[in-house]
Symmetry: D2
Subunit: 338 residues, 4 copies
């Protein structure tokens, strides 16, 4: 932690800060600059909150934290990319697995058909929502456990592992019984009660970035899961909220190289929620592969126009088949495969 | 719902949209314009998602929704401001109640002293967190039920109603036993499981806007509570996330007149979390009163420099007493009182 | 400047950075931390750009600048608030002057009538645009020099000093001949050629914050003017661009206390452009006074519904008269006057 | 234009709006809905500003514009992508040209060497700044005309066309004498005086999106140039300002498919300014190719660590050579070539 003093700070102010820092258990090191002085505070394990108060002392301009707030998610702790295995499907290696399926599980017939179609096209994991967090209380909220059973039937039928969202700590045990991978949606990125419970399970977690979550906070949300003992976390960039309204969200494609630079966790991209329109899905999926993502998750429905949710951004099986071919070409171009 | 056709749309495209809309149960009305045609779709209770698909039909430029997604929160449904009563303290009328207290409940002694001090200065409700949602898993997470008991002791001692946060649907019953008003924090604004449960209780809810929640989504989150039967919702603007980093969040002061224009729900302001620095609390509190807020919630601690959380933005009892006087003057200037 | 090393940085990396910093003319001071080491670099007047490259050296995590990029605008250089005098109207003291008038100068009759009306209500300066920067090339761009002559006629008639926008370095001399205060619009906040020329004149400049300008960049834009020798700069907060669309822009009311904390320059607020709707102008104007702004600039038109530009956010003279009374009450409540 | 009435609007309100619209020259069409009524207004060429006032009439909820504010830039007017030819280098066709070079022109020797190096690697156009818009008045502002002469020398030496920024309407003629393509920087995206002048020249313009410019405003800025008669505009996405600080800006990669959907203008990507760090340049450049960009502009310097500006995001010639190979592979994978 570095304390930056004001240009007009008096010697007394500097001494007061040094004294307070020592009280708090730090070893302070003063650097006398040409324009202003700074104080380096050495010493870990000090409560950040009580330190913050130094920022409000007379003569202090501001405080600069040095330690990263996340540890287990950090690349400094584990330099090589982690491989997260979901029933044999590996994220973080040379292969780029595709997760596909409808937004909502609507019926057994619909999800089984979806599973068959996306499997035939080459998808490795089936997605589908049984519990749907919806902005409006009047929108379809999902079939709940019934939907989980339909997902299990689709797995039975096709052999595809399944990935489904859990939105409520009360349902973790229930969802655990059926799913192969938990999905945490963007709205729950800071639902710490949920993250903590998932950290205590032994199934992988697909953690979606929130609409206004910084990459640092994203890694700290992952840290909640990791610090409980569950190391199988896959990050998912799905667009952030900005002033631009032409797309549903703004896909922060740079998130991939930044995460690769700072963390060992694999990261995938969701082009469906970020773009919000089916005509943008192909272009964004290809850019996801090219930028180095470890996977892509795409909304596909046997009859997209009749989808109960997210219809506008859902593509058809025919569109998906063509896109799989296009993504494969890009994967090869960047030295990976699908 | 208005369907805007492209300038180069063919007659066939128009006819297809009309046909599809009729299939979906709408009465379509075509308006032939100079540059492009638009189709007005009349007919409520149609699933929004399946309609969205019209936006992807050939010849369609975009779709404009007309109905507001919230109803019970709307001023169109109830033109006069609602008065929400919390144990006799009224929000939404001529009086502007102040909620004050520390960020976290640290000990019985600390919260009782805080309660006595803020009561003496004129605060009407005591705030204090027993369950703390923290960005880092390594930060203090609150005393839990123990903290709720300390809050109850403070109420016993001072007669001030209490307001405390609930972060997990599993704890709604527990918190219910102790609190006079639930607080939903910014991170839980779209924790719909939690909102639904609170809508089924008979205690008022202080609903904080999320960091990236639009005002429309804010009212829809309130709608989750209202639609379950609980009409006692107080909104709280606490700053949104923008590119500006000089403050912890950007206080969206305009949220107050906008909400007053669109909804009957009372709205208060949190100058502590928005500014993030104690030297900004007074200026922002006074602007809150002047802009028409129905209350202010302020972090006050007997010894702010030793607060376990949010120390930098917490003010001292002396500061608070002075600020109460300043806010009173502004309240009178705008025809209200404290 | 502080160089933060990675946790896994080797000794060699540290030594390389120290050596490179010395080459660049710095005195490096290493602080050995528990988790990672940091290097304080002392020595001013080093080109920032060439230093940045240290951030890309092996073993370096990131670089933290310490010096503020602005000097003349800084409160550290001049602790007391500057009073900027515009033909006898003082910004930055106990009085809070109001600037009012139409968005565009439409005709001599319109601007003279506007001037008479706002003067009668108590405004101290007349605003009106002769050169209009418009997002669309097909919108009214202003009357140019003709408009300046009308403004001069209005000043002649009423004695009110005038404030008008200059958008093009080519027109600085022309506008200089007529105006009492230059206005730099939000779109020109980083039009450095224009700022530099205005810095070489001897007339005050009303500098509006850009839609996506941080407060630090805002002060650096002011620095362009100050560093050329013109010390008479008044800042104007007029809303920033965020994800919220209920208002035209998001009024960053906290900008006022932040600027007061960091700079000696006076700052005013524009509630018309930030809110974008006339029904929000009164609430925002009162909050501006309460938060400590040194002035308010309001769009007023004799017949707002017929205004050629910004009609939706322009208020009528009757509305303005009432608002003046309301603002006066708030000014008194915060110990100032109008 | 669609006028949406409030649910509680009275018949009188509706009639008043209809009457006012007719006064303004519209043909109004009322659609009576279940919950609320809407009025379609047919009739182009009406001043948008005076219409806005309808939004403030009693009983009106809001107004929805239907016409796009840009015409010449629209794909509806010209469905096929425009090919913009810069001295034989074509943007918008099957080939993806790369523009490369240093941020600033520092010396004749530096820019000639840069030109030789990037040409050898396969770049088709040389970039380099002679006039630099800098946030700080104390930063290097460019060599001005001297820099333009060095650029001309580099062209002479290598045959590469040159692209350089113009920041001031006063310098358009000067820059015209030397450059093959004007660059308009992000800060000047709404410098309409400059755009208008460039629209009157016969040289192509590389128009960079502003930090907070929506895609619609971006196309309207292009419209300023097109409407003056210059059809040779190339758009450039270079990152927008968001809350995320891990990158200098947030590359809005979706801008490419959105622009392709709405406009016939070619669009390229700048991975250097968006990422802000050289280690992100390769990943972002490849994603640019994959997403369908018509070109990439990259900062390359013979000795990046010694660059006078943007050093941290500038790559070396060796890095550039390798990246060219990687981009070529991705270009082939998406059916294009370099």
């Amino acid at each position: 932690m570095i304390v930056v003093m004001r240009m007009d700070a008096e010697e007394k102010h500097l001494n007061d800060v040094v004294a307070r820092a020592e009280e708090l258990g730090f070893s302070p090191h003063v650097i006398f600059g040409k324009e202003r002085n700074v104080i380096g505070l050495v010493g870990a394990n000090v409560k950040k909150d009580s330190v913050c108060v130094i920022s409000e002392m007379p003569g202090v301009d501001n405080i600069v934290p040095i330690s990263k707030p996340y540890k287990l998610a950090s690349k400094e702790v584990k330099p090589e990319t982690s491989i997260v295995d979901v029933c044999g499907v590996k994220f973080g290696g040379g292969e780029i697995p595709i997760i596909a399926g409808p937004c909502s599980v609507e019926s057994e017939e619909q999800i089984v058909r979806s599973a068959q179609m996306v499997k035939a096209a080459g998808a490795k994991i089936l997605r589908g929502g049984a519990f749907k967090p919806r902005t409006s209380p009047y929108a379809f909220q999902g079939h709940g456990e019934e939907g989980l059973k339909y997902l299990a039937a689709a797995r039975q039928e096709t052999g595809l592992p399944i990935c489904t969202e859990v939105v409520n700590p009360r349902n973790v045990e229930l969802v655990y019984k059926y799913t192969d991978m938990f999905q945490v949606g963007a709205r729950n990125i800071q639902n710490f009660a949920l993250l903590t419970m998932l950290g205590q399970t032994d199934k992988p977690v697909l953690l979606k970035r929130g609409m206004s979550t910084t990459i640092e906070e994203f890694l700290m949300a992952a840290e909640y899961i990791l610090s409980e003992g569950n190391q199988r976390v896959i990050l998912c960039e799905r667009g952030i909220r900005t002033f631009e309204t032409a797309t549903r969200n703004t896909l922060d494609i740079s998130c991939v190289p930044v995460v690769k630079d700072k963390s060992h966790l694999p990261i995938i991209i969701d082009p469906s929620h970020s773009g919000g329109h089916r005509q943008y899905v192909s272009a964004l999926s290809k850019s996801a592969i090219a930028v180095g993502a470890d996977g892509v998750i795409i909304e596909v429905h046997p009859e997209p126009d009749k989808a109960w949710s997210d219809a506008a951004q859902t593509i058809s099986p025919e569109h998906f088949i063509q896109l799989m071919g296009e993504m494969r070409a890009v994967a090869l171009a960047v030295g990976r495969y699908m």
